[in-house]
Every structure is written in C-alpha cells, then in structure tokens.
C-alpha cells in the first residue's frame, strides 16, 4: 500500500442562494473543528501542510473546503451566463451553510486574505457560534493598487497573470518549492475567479466601520500578518487590531501573504501558540 497522507477528501452538495453547489472538502484530525478558508483565486490545497501536521490534528479536526467556483468545487448550474462576483452576503451565506451542513459545534474558523477578512465579519455576526476566529492577512480594510480588469481578458493568460500578480506577495525567504506550489494554485484558477473574489476583498467586504463592535470576550480574534505582505501590510493589521479591543496580533517576520502554503515550517512558529491558547481556553 502507498504511504497515504492522513487527508480524506469528499464531495457533498449545499444550497447557496437557492442554487446547488457541489463542494469538495478535505479533513484530517480529531477534536475542536478548525474550518480553514483559502485566499482569493486559490483553493483549499493551501492548507495541506496543516492537514498533515500531527501536532495540530491530534487536537483539532482540520476542515478545508474549496469555495464554489474554486478548486474541485463546481460553479453553480448556469454559471456560463453569469459573471462571478463574490459579495459579502454570498460569502457569509456560503461559509455558514457549509458549517451547518457539516453539523459543526462551536468551531474555530481560520481564513487567509479574503478568508481572513470574512472571519472578522463572522466574529461580529456569529460570535455565539464560533469559538474564535483567526484572520491571516485579514485586515478590515485595504486599498486597491492595480486595475482588476487585467485579470480577465482574452489577450492576457488568466492563470499566468494571476500568479504573476501574487508572486509579489510571497516573501523572498520562502522556499522555492512552496513558492511555486502556491503560485501553481493561482495558475489553475477558473477564468475571472480571482477578479471576482477581489470584489469582496477590495471593495464590498470593507469592515473597518464595524470591526470596533466585535466583542473579543465572546469571540476571541487573532490577527496574523506577514512582514512581506504588500496588500494586508503589517501596518494595516495593526490598524485593524487597534479598532478591535482585545484582538491579539502577530507580525510574522520573513513571511508573505500565504503563510500556510508559502512557508509551512516557519508558519508553525506563529500558529502553534495561537492554537495552544485556543485549546487551553
């Protein structure tokens, strides 16, 4: 028999905005559910190292799923006639529908980039449901710095350009093997999907006006940001932390925008203490 990884992958269907969405999910481990949300334009493969980390999976049931339109999850029927655009409401409904379909009780939710931003929305609106939220590279507000139309047009290869744009977000110290694996995920994204996700991350999902209302006594908030992240910069993360009383902040030196996939070994140094604190709470 091959030396299988501990990850188990399965499919099931949820209904979001009345539409069936066939979802691909991977999980490993036992204990407190830890739901993981991938970045814009990528998929849950970003979490493969966490899913295989026994230090984590001995205490946490790590669950990572591909959002509809991403990875091995299907777009809804009729997708061809609709431009993909992730709104805040659609994103929240998708994640909450997933969690409820999975029958999760009091899970922790961790997201990166747009997923990190969403966890802040959930910390406010679903504080009773989530045990705590971990926002990786998930400041409550960003400023766009390039024209999104470059990401989806017939005279530019979508996969190549998405990867080339986000390669700037990876720290120069990160191992080449994982840098290019992270970028490979971007090269495989569907047409217009990264662009559609950035509608949430850069525009619709701004949350700086509501983040001060998060009560971290009800739902603890952990913010982790990579030194080399040029969109969710350390400064933006610190600004976010200042708006959320009681938020715990870690600036990850030598790390970029994709901590769990670009440098999984270094990420352990930063995520282990957070998970230990959650475990001990």
């Amino acid at each position: 028999m091959p030396n299988f990884e501990p990850i188990v992958g399965r499919y099931f269907t949820i209904y979001v905005e009345g539409q069936p969405c066939r979802i691909y999910v991977e999980e490993a481990g036992d204990g407190i559910p830890l739901v993981c949300l991938h970045t814009a334009g990528s998929d849950a493969r970003q979490y493969r190292h966490l899913l295989c980390d026994e230090t984590i999976t001995k205490n946490f049931r790590v669950i990572a799923f591909d959002m509809p339109w991403h990875g091995k999850s299907n777009p809804p029927p009729g997708f061809r006639d609709n431009e993909y655009r992730l709104t805040t409401e659609l994103y929240k409904e998708t994640v909450m529908t997933f969690c409820r379909a999975y029958d999760l009780v009091n899970p922790v939710i961790m997201g990166c980039s747009m997923g990190g931003r969403l966890t802040l929305h959930l910390a406010l609106e679903q504080a009773e449901y989530f045990r705590s939220v971990i926002a990786l590279e998930g400041a409550d507000k960003l400023e766009p710095y390039y024209d999104l139309s470059w990401l989806h047009r017939p005279d530019v290869h979508g996969g190549e350009v998405c990867a080339a744009f986000v390669s700037a977000q990876i720290a120069p110290q990160s191992p080449d093997e994982y840098r290019w694996e992270t970028l490979w995920h971007y090269m495989q994204g569907g047409p217009g999907i990264f662009k559609g996700d950035l509608y949430f991350y850069w525009h619709d999902g701004d949350f700086d006006d509501r983040s001060p209302r998060i009560n971290t006594k009800n739902c603890p908030v952990y913010l982790l940001s990579g030194e080399y992240d040029s969109s969710c910069t350390p400064e933006r993360t610190i600004d976010t932390a200042e708006r959320i009383t009681g938020a715990r902040t870690t600036i990850m030196e030598g790390m970029g925008h994709f901590p769990m996939s670009e440098n999984p070994e270094l990420f352990k140094k930063f995520i282990y203490p957070v998970l230990e604190e959650i475990l001990g709470a």
Partner: protein, 121 residues
C-alpha cells in the same frame, strides 16, 4: 554598473529566455533621471543603451530611484522592495506606456529585472 551585466545574466539563464521566447520588443528602464532602452528578441536581450533622444522610446517604461533598484537587487531585499509589483502600492516605481506586453509576460519581466540579484548580500 549593474546594467552592464544584465545582458549576460539574462541571456545565460536558459529557463528564463525560454519562458520569454514570445517576447520581442524594447522597453524603457529608468534609474533616477536616466532612461535606458532594453531591447529583447525572442526572450534574449540584444541591446541595452542609454536613451539620448526623446524619439528613442520603449513600448512601456518602468522607472524607479537608483536607491530602490539597489535595494531590489539585494539578496534579501527589504519588504516592499522585493518585487516590482510590491513596489506599486508604495509608489516606489512608475509604469507608463502600453502595459499590455508587460502584463502578458509579467513574471518574465519581473525575473529579468531581478536577474542582477546574485545571491550575495
């Protein structure tokens, strides 16, 4: 002068020139107030010359301060200086002209410009 070595560094990188095999154009590379025209044919640099006349122009231009490029070419650059796309939000570079060929081959141009990064710091 870093640009004196750029041609050999790029042309000696087979993987890079292979990735750029569809690129044949000239672009303007600015260091402080000096512009240079970098000409490429099938992914290889054919010429790098100082721009002396306004009529000598690349299809697009990438310009930054000399201190920015020096930091960019260090083995481990400081954050914001490590990639031309991370320089954008900090306004450390300017882009002008027809950006289509740049965007179509963005990773190639990023790697070409970063070629002087020689592993020594």
């Amino acid at each position: 002068m870093v640009l004196n070595k750029l041609k050999d560094q790029v042309n000696g990188n087979k993987a890079l020139t292979e990735r750029g095999k569809w690129v044949s154009l000239s672009f303007t590379f600015g260091i402080d107030n000096d512009d240079y025209l970098i000409s490429i044919k099938n992914g290889k640099i054919t010429q790098i010359q100082k721009r002396n006349l306004a009529t000598e122009s690349g299809i697009f231009a990438i310009r930054a301060a000399k201190s920015t490029w020096i930091e960019h070419w260090r083995c481990i650059p400081k954050r914001d200086f490590h990639d031309i796309w991370s320089m954008l939000p900090k306004q450390l570079i300017t882009l002008d002209g027809n950006l289509l060929p740049l965007i179509q081959n963005l990773q190639f141009f990023k790697d070409l410009i970063a070629s002087p990064r020689d592993g020594k710091d």
